[in-house]
């Protein structure tokens, strides 16, 4: 799933964040405005050339959903922000290893975020896992534009509805595995059901989820 929006290649020198008087200064607005018209894959190519403003746009596009995922998994803001920060820095370091034939930039960043969160959840230090989500509300700054919000909201509702419609026992193992960071063996112990049943529920649940989604969502290519 690659963003193929038409865009003009930037001609200016790389716009990088600078530190002035001890303060981090964002990339210049002109560069950011141009970069915001570029496809994710083009931004990744620029990030490989260490253009920080290109990566800043990638953060703007995908940092929010990455945080939503980390927050759901970790259960508190501080841990979720640590996960996202780790994941974004890892993405910056490894942007040269991104391969478009293996999926979209969004999925690549979410995959790194997911793995970072799983690592933390599976570590002994945070093994108590599920904590109640914080109630603190953070002012929403830098939200996506209204069209994007409506589009994402529609997608979110469709996926939520589809997830709600699969059998409870299948949804349960999917949520424990994906958001809880539990392995299929741990889920088998936790729910006291045979391992084979857990594996089958995961596979069948995902297949049903896919079948109930619109073709655009189910086949992102």
């Amino acid at each position: 799933m690659t963003d193929e929006r038409p865009a003009e290649p930037p001609t200016d020198p790389p716009a990088a964040a600078e530190r002035r008087n001890g303060e981090m200064v964002r990339s210049d607005r002109g560069a950011l405005a141009r970069h915001r018209r570029l496809a994710d894959e083009d931004l990744m190519a620029m990030a490989v050339r260490r253009e920080e403003s290109a990566f800043q746009v990638l953060y703007e596009r995908h940092g929010r959903i990455a945080f939503g995922l980390a927050y759901r998994m970790m259960g508190d803001r501080a841990s979720a922000e640590d996960v996202v920060q780790d994941a974004m820095i890892a993405a910056w370091r490894r942007c040269g290893s991104y391969r478009p034939d293996r999926g979209s930039v969004r999925n690549w960043i979410l995959s790194i975020t997911h793995h970072r969160a799983i690592d933390r959840l599976r570590s002994a230090a945070t093994h108590d896992r599920r904590r109640a989500p914080d109630d603190e509300v953070i002012p929403d700054r830098g939200a996506p534009d209204s069209f994007t919000l409506v589009w994402q909201s529609a997608q979110r509702e469709e996926i939520k509805t589809a997830l709600a419609e699969i059998p409870d026992e299948q949804r349960r193992v999917i949520e424990l595995g994906y958001f809880g960071g539990y392995t299929h063996v741990e889920i088998s112990d936790l729910l006291d059901v045979p391992l084979g049943t857990v594996k089958a529920r995961m596979r069948l649940g995902l297949q049903k989820l896919r079948a109930s989604l619109s073709p655009t969502l189910a086949s992102p290519s």
Binding site: P9, A16, A17, E18, R26, E41, D42, A45, V48, R49, R50, E52, Q56, Y59, G63, R64, I65, F67, G68, Y71, R72, R77, A80, E81, V84, Q85, M88, I89, R93, G96, P100, D101, N107, L110, H115, I138, P139, R141, G142, Q155, R156, I159, L163, G177, Y178, G181, Y182, T183, G196, K199, M202, R203, L204, L206, R210, L213, L217, A218, S219, S221
Partner: protein, 244 residues
């Protein structure tokens, strides 16, 4: 790059039936790292299984959309940008052979999701990461000159993956000898799988070294090892080159 959770022996071999059995758990990230590496290694070489597993992976990537839409604190963006800026400043100049955006667009494949495309004619471009004991520096691509002050163990080394008619080679200039009692061991990673010990590399009198590596490796690493025949790396990589 603190922990190396996937820094293990080569993944175990598994058959088609087991891959399909584990497909759901694999897509959800609900396998141990060893099992996940085994499935991934199988999928990299088995189109038949990949066709069945990829749709489940795609669906799993939609699950974050079901999370509540909550905004991170504004400070997070500042922290992330400050961190990458600090790393950028600590790194040397951008290598001349890193593709520009225009070059990148010319190279882009017509089908982004084509799996198993033959890449024999594609000149390998090495993108490297130099991971040091005291931190990680990242290159934008091509080659990386390691600052001797940063990496006393490596010397002032310039390390690159070079593609030629004879295949892919790891080449190093200015490579120091391995630390006392240790050898530089070269590792290859295939796909997302585990690491394969390819053997040791030593600099010649001119501090140069060249080492043939498999062209289909996704990643080439060098570590300092007391046992040159070890099957599992015991130290962080001094060199980590991604073969794209």
């Amino acid at each position: 790059m603190t922990p190396f959770p996937d820094f293990t022996d080569a993944p175990r071999a598994i058959d088609h039936d087991e891959v399909i059995d584990l497909a759901g758990a694999f897509a959800l990230g609900a396998l141990t790292s060893g099992d996940a590496a085994a499935v991934d290694a199988h999928l990299n070489g088995c189109r038949r299984c990949a066709i069945q597993v990829e749709p489940l992976v795609d669906v799993a990537f939609l699950l974050p959309m079901t999370c509540d839409d909550v905004a991170p604190s504004p400070d997070l963006e500042t922290r992330v940008l400050a961190a990458i800026h600090a790393e950028n400043e600590a790194m040397g100049p951008i290598p001349a052979n890193v593709a520009s955006l225009d070059e990148h667009r010319r190279r882009r494949r017509p089908s982004l999701r084509a799996v198993g495309a033959v890449a024999a004619a594609v000149v390998a471009v090495a993108v490297g990461t130099i991971a040091l004991e005291r931190g990680v520096g990242t290159t934008g691509g091509g080659t990386r000159t390691v600052d001797a002050e940063q990496a006393a163990d490596l010397g002032n080394a310039r390390v690159a993956l070079v593609s030629s008619r004879d295949g892919l080679r790891l080449q190093a200039d200015g490579l120091a000898a391995a630390p006392d009692g240790k050898s530089w061991v070269v590792w290859a990673r295939h796909g997302q799988g585990g690491l394969e010990n390819l053997g040791t590399v030593s600099p010649d009198a001119a501090h140069r070294a060249s080492f043939a590596v498999p062209g289909d490796a996704s990643e080439i690493l060098i570590t300092a090892e007391s046992n040159p025949r070890t099957r599992a790396a015991t130290s962080p990589p001094a060199v980590d080159l991604t073969n794209t």
